[in-house]
């Protein structure tokens, strides 16, 4: 069991706090949604949690995973995976190369053929069997979204952040990808934090919902 915990988290821009201090715990396999208007600081909150908050912001509070305070750790040591609204597959790597990039942390000691087998099995599990050698640019939006999800999960994250990851998909793909993402995150047992302004996302997430409000 892992828990992602925010304590008295608060962001300020030019001395003005963006929202009231936030306390929050996300348990293993749980999806907590954060809703807020654009400009409410919800994406900046995620940036802070994964350690890439632009220097114009100031932040107070702590981010914890279980008992570990990770507030000041560099991004790569936090073990927090993130999915953005664009799939952001690395365009210079094959589909398999993208997955291998994420796999390195979780399974650095694997042999080459073991890694390939893992990647192939992962692709197959989301209906993309045999696409490992493909150029990501040749995949459809829904396929790319699924590869991006696999890439995050194969990196063995201790928590996953979702930054409106479905908003750019067309309505039909959106429902499928959404269901898949939530199902996989739950199955992997990672605490998952979703920011969105789409009520359907919140309903599908099925977990608690927090409205970001002005201080």
């Amino acid at each position: 069991m892992t828990t992602l915990r925010l304590r008295a988290a608060s962001l300020a821009l030019g001395g003005e706090p963006l929202f009231a201090p936030l306390d929050l715990a996300v348990a293993s396999g749980e999806v907590v949604s954060i809703r807020g208007e654009s400009g409410s600081g919800k994406s900046s909150l995620l940036a802070w949690i994964c350690g890439v908050l632009p220097p114009v912001f100031t932040a107070t509070g702590t981010v914890q995973i279980d008992a570990d305070d990770i507030t000041t750790l560099p991004t790569e040591q936090r073990g927090i995976g993130i999915l953005f609204q664009d799939d952001l597959l690395f365009p210079h790597l094959s589909v398999g190369g993208n997955l291998g990039f994420g796999l390195q942390r979780g399974a650095g000691a694997l042999r080459r053929d073991e890694r390939h087998a893992l990647i192939d099995a992962a692709l197959e599990s989301v209906g993309l069997a045999g696409l490992a050698a493909r150029d990501p640019a040749t995949l459809s939006g829904g396929q790319r979204a699924r590869v991006a999800l696999l890439r995050v999960l194969l990196s063995g994250p201790r928590a996953v952040l979702l930054d409106e990851p479905f908003s750019k998909l067309d309505p039909r793909t959106r429902a499928q990808v959404r269901a898949l993402v939530f199902e996989r995150c739950r199955a992997a047992g990672v605490p998952t934090l979703l920011v969105t302004h789409d009520a359907n996302d919140v309903a599908a997430a099925g977990g608690p919902m927090i409205e970001l409000s002005l201080p």
Binding site: T75, E76, I80, L88, P91, H92, A137
Partner: protein, 547 residues
């Protein structure tokens, strides 16, 4: 803060030589003797007038033409074609192009040969001042030929920072035709971004030897040519006089930049008043016709000049009015080979080394400054300083400093000096591509567990592979073109194609000048071609990698 310390080191690398150089040039000019001598120079007033006229006219005409061309070719696809068409002119060094234009337009040049004797009746070259005319018009032409493509490129990259297509569409849906849409909605937004490149064009126009040596008037010549004669005079007592002249040229440049800046503000006011008058009619048809004709004329002149240059280097006997030489051979090339070999080593080796170092510094600075975008802009502006201070103003003083350090004429001195001029271009190019990369890609890589170094090596660098290749070709081309920096830092001991072309041009050996000019012109083209080829080969199976 080690980051800041390293950045400060980069700035020091660029600003210190300029500051030391300026000081070293001013020092010998501090006594009154050289100034008295300077003001006693016959034809000085005329030389100053010529300098100001050719420098300012060429810069203003180039800026106008660049705006006109972009207004007419404002659609993205058309703009890319325009840039591609301008590339050969852009890649050719000033000096080589100027020699080519001289060979094309001289009374005995290719153009009159094409028309003689059947049309003109000439069997001897006429006694016309088609080049090196006393008003400097051919000098203005030569400069416009080089600076227009440069400003097209600079305006084009400034365009990426404004939503030009949406603005154009907005203006057109309000009833403005394309040309006027550009003039009222887009052009005013580019003024800020184009300021530094334009200042560099003005400074180069006022202080260049490269073009004036082939196309400029000779009696009196421009101030820069006078300085060149004094600085290269074996009589060392002329150095103080030359230094005083260099200080004067620097002052004139500052004055011209200030005047143009003040003028630009007034033009802008008038322009905006005109833009907001609400009148819809414009001259799209006339503008298109004019832009197309001028564009074609520039391009044709440039290409014909290059052909004339290569042809002249191969021609054995080429009597007027024969259109083609009666026999061609490689004699001059093989004769020149004796000097070409060190020039090849010097020029090509140095250009490659400079381009490579500039690329490394630029990549590193762009990556370091990712979280500090305002510093990126500041650094780009500061790196432009060596392009805006006239070369004569600080190169002499720099040479004095280098010789005090006992490194003049060495590779170190050449590399440091060339970097001053190569770095601003390479950095601007690299930083634009670096900024255009999706900033979330490295975040994703880090969140997947990659360290900053691994992220740079495995994600950022591969995505900038094509940019890096093009940046290398750009740095290579800029370095090969440098004349005065090679001359001063090399202290006459370091031979490059530029120094040899200029030396043979002044000694009147046209065929040798054509050989060095051709080599100087063809190498950058080869460089760009190699970069394009290699760029097409890397990641050719990955459609999403940026061009």
């Amino acid at each position: 803060m080690t980051k800041r310390a390293l950045l400060a080191a980069v700035l020091l690398l660029v600003l210190l030589p300029v500051a030391v150089g300026l000081g070293g040039t001013i020092l010998p000019a501090l006594s009154s003797e050289p100034w008295r001598e300077l003001f006693a120079t016959p034809g000085l007033a005329r030389a100053i007038t010529l300098t100001l006229f050719t420098g300012i006219a060429s810069a203003v005409i180039s800026l106008g033409l660049a705006h006109l061309l972009l207004a007419v070719y404002s659609a993205r696809l058309a703009r890319e074609r325009l840039r591609a068409a301008m590339l050969p002119l852009l890649a050719t060094p000033h000096l080589a192009l100027a020699i080519g234009v001289a060979l094309l337009l001289a009374p005995s040049g290719w153009l009159l040969r094409a028309l003689s004797p059947w049309l003109t009746g000439f069997t001897q070259p006429p006694d016309w001042a088609t080049i090196q005319d006393p008003w400097g018009l051919s000098l203005v032409l030569g400069l416009v030929l080089k600076e227009t493509p440069f400003l097209v490129l600079a305006l084009g990259s400034a365009l990426t920072q404004v939503p030009s297509e949406r603005l154009m569409l907005q203006a057109r849906t309000l009833g403005y035709r394309p040309f006027k849409s550009w003039c009222v909605a887009v052009a005013p937004l580019l003024q800020r971004q184009i300021r530094l490149p334009f200042a560099a064009v003005v400074a180069f126009g006022l202080g260049n030897v490269d073009v004036a040596i082939a196309l400029g008037p000779s009696n009196p010549p421009t101030l820069a040519i006078l300085l060149w004669q004094w600085f290269t005079d074996p009589d060392l007592s002329r150095r103080a006089l030359a230094a005083a002249g260099a200080v004067m040229l620097t002052g004139l440049t500052a004055l011209a930049l200030w005047a143009l800046h003040a003028l630009a503000a007034r033009v802008r006011r008038l322009w905006l008043r005109h833009a907001t008058s609400g009148r819809r009619h414009d001259s799209t048809v006339a503008a298109t016709l004019f832009a197309n004709s001028i564009g074609a004329l520039l391009l044709a002149t440039g290409l014909l000049a290059l052909i004339a240059l290569v042809l002249r280097s191969l021609a054995r006997a080429w009597r007027f009015p024969e259109f083609l030489p009666r026999s061609i051979d490689m004699n001059s090339w093989s004769n020149a080979l004796a000097t070409l070999t060190p020039a090849l080593e010097g020029s090509v080796g140095l250009a490659l080394l400079t381009a490579f170092v500039a690329l490394l510094v630029s990549l590193w600075a762009a990556e370091t400054l990712r979280p500090l975008p305002q510093w990126r802009t500041r650094l780009a502006a500061l790196l432009f300083v060596p392009l805006i201070v006239p070369q004569f103003g600080f190169l002499y003083g720099l040479q004095v400093a280098l010789s005090a350090l006992r490194i003049e004429g060495t590779w170190t001195a050449m590399l440091l000096t060339h970097l001053l001029f190569v770095l601003p271009y390479v950095f601007a190019f690299v930083v634009a591509a670096h900024t255009a990369l999706d900033a979330r890609l490295p975040i994703v890589a880090r969140s997947l567990g990659a360290s900053p170094t691994a992220t740079f090596a495995k994600v950022t660098l591969p995505l900038l592979a094509r940019t890096s290749l093009q940046a290398l070709a750009l740095g290579f081309a800029v370095s090969l073109a440098l004349l005065l920096p090679s001359l001063f830092a090399g202290a006459g001991r370091f031979i490059t194609f530029a120094t040899e072309a200029a030396a043979t041009m002044t000694s009147g050996s046209l065929r040798s000048a054509a050989v060095y000019g051709s080599a100087q012109a063809l190498l950058p083209l080869l460089g760009f071609a190699a970069a394009a080829l290699a760029g097409a080969l890397v990641f050719r199976r990955r459609a999403g990698v940026p061009a």
